[in-house]
Symmetry: C2
Subunit: 250 residues, 2 copies
């Protein structure tokens, strides 16, 4: 076959290649990587392109570069189930080694109201689609989620709505609606299960849960999804990798 049409910037491709090399243990933790000219030659790119990829990996905390010394792989404990990498409940459950599923799922349409209206940048009487789901890990209900989507984003096709309640919202956004979620802002707090939540998750009222609210934005910064999630406290452990203040202050 001929040369594949490429649209992804080479620097991104290089970044991904290096990531997989690191993941497969090609470089040893704490040890030096091959010098840039050598790596660039092997990857078939210029040093400038390689350096953009390295900068990216350095920002992610995977390696450090020191002028005159070299580029070193940082030995960092691999964290599963962390908020940085996993996007969406389905993936989180799967990466914990459990089987994701649904116990109940509903969709309905209503007016946004003042709160969701403000969050999603809508008028109070604009319509939203509300997806209401009880999600299970290995058959046990562990998360109750309510997702709110501006109605004008979703074509009113029954098949699509049916898909909404079954699959990963992020996949549907990307594949069906052509919306790429760029980033999300999550806030969370400990809470006790209210009567509604307790009923849904089959636990006593007052059980410990982690309430997480997240707003997702597309590439232009437009809010496209508002999610409310009630996680059973003993079912998951949440993690996040925090970039240090390091990088030497001015």
């Amino acid at each position: 076959m001929g040369a594949a049409a490429r649209q992804r910037p080479r620097a991104d491709a290089v970044r991904i290649t290096l990531l997989s090399w690191i993941g497969r243990g090609r470089f040893r933790q704490g040890r030096r990587l091959p010098p840039e000219p050598e790596l660039a030659a092997e990857l078939g790119v210029s040093r400038a392109t390689l350096r953009e990829a390295l900068r990216s990996l350095e920002d992610e905390g995977l390696l450090t570069r020191t002028r005159g010394a070299g580029t070193f792989l940082i030995g960092r404990p691999r964290v599963k189930n962390n908020l940085d990498a996993n996007f969406g409940v389905t993936e989180a459950i799967r990466s914990a080694g459990m089987r994701p599923g649904f116990e109940e799922a509903h969709v309905h349409r209503r007016a946004a109201g003042p709160e969701e209206g403000e969050r999603l940048d809508l008028a109070v009487d604009d319509d939203v689609i509300v997806v209401d789901r009880i999600r299970t890990a290995d058959g046990r209900p562990v998360v109750y989620t309510v997702d709110v989507i501006p109605a004008f984003l979703v074509p009113d096709r029954l098949a699509l709505l049916r898909r909404l309640v079954r699959g990963s919202l992020y996949e549907i956004f990307e594949q069906q609606l052509g919306i790429v979620i760029h980033h999300g802002v999550a806030s969370f707090a400990p809470a006790r299960a209210t009567r509604t939540v307790a009923d849904k998750l089959h636990v006593p009222r007052g059980t410990l849960v982690l309430y997480l609210h997240q707003i997702d934005y597309d590439e232009t910064g437009r809010p496209v999804l508002s999610s409310h999630e009630h996680h059973l406290a003993d079912a998951f452990e949440f993690m996040v990798i925090r970039r240090g203040p390091g990088r030497r202050l001015a």
Copy 2:
């Protein structure tokens, strides 16, 4: 004055300059930035250096670059008190507009034990310094923290120990011990106040708290600090910015 000795890579300096420009609203949200050659000239660096800084800001989700079109500032809601930016309780309280303080603070030395030993990569009978503090916001106790540091990192000077209990650990690490914290891995879960915690924070037993455990690493990936924090649930809201799966999958 003469040229200051510079050690920070120019690309980092450019990144910080651009950050401050963005923060001050020099570029409008969603609009295009000046073309790279122009920006580079204004900043007094080459395009390659500028591009490394831009790549960094793109990774942080602040802007997007499209070949042929330009570089665009993303309009993203400014989040205070988020886990990505704030490192340490002192700073978090301060950035919430409150006055940080201490109600009680103790330091003692003991053997690491098996648990902390493993976390900090020590033998069970290696010594650790334990800093035990009740922290207040505007005078009200809101966080109970226990910090564990390998003893060999801390010179046994009384003045230093006294400082440990009063100031920001991160500042002391950097300024007194010469250790730059590079990143931390935090895990958290909702919990109820045990008797100890309840006493310290002056709340009834069983009160809702967020328990957060974090291990901080230096630039070489060596663990240097293990922190246990019990946050009063109603005192703070935790936030984290999550990078989307976006970036277009292969």
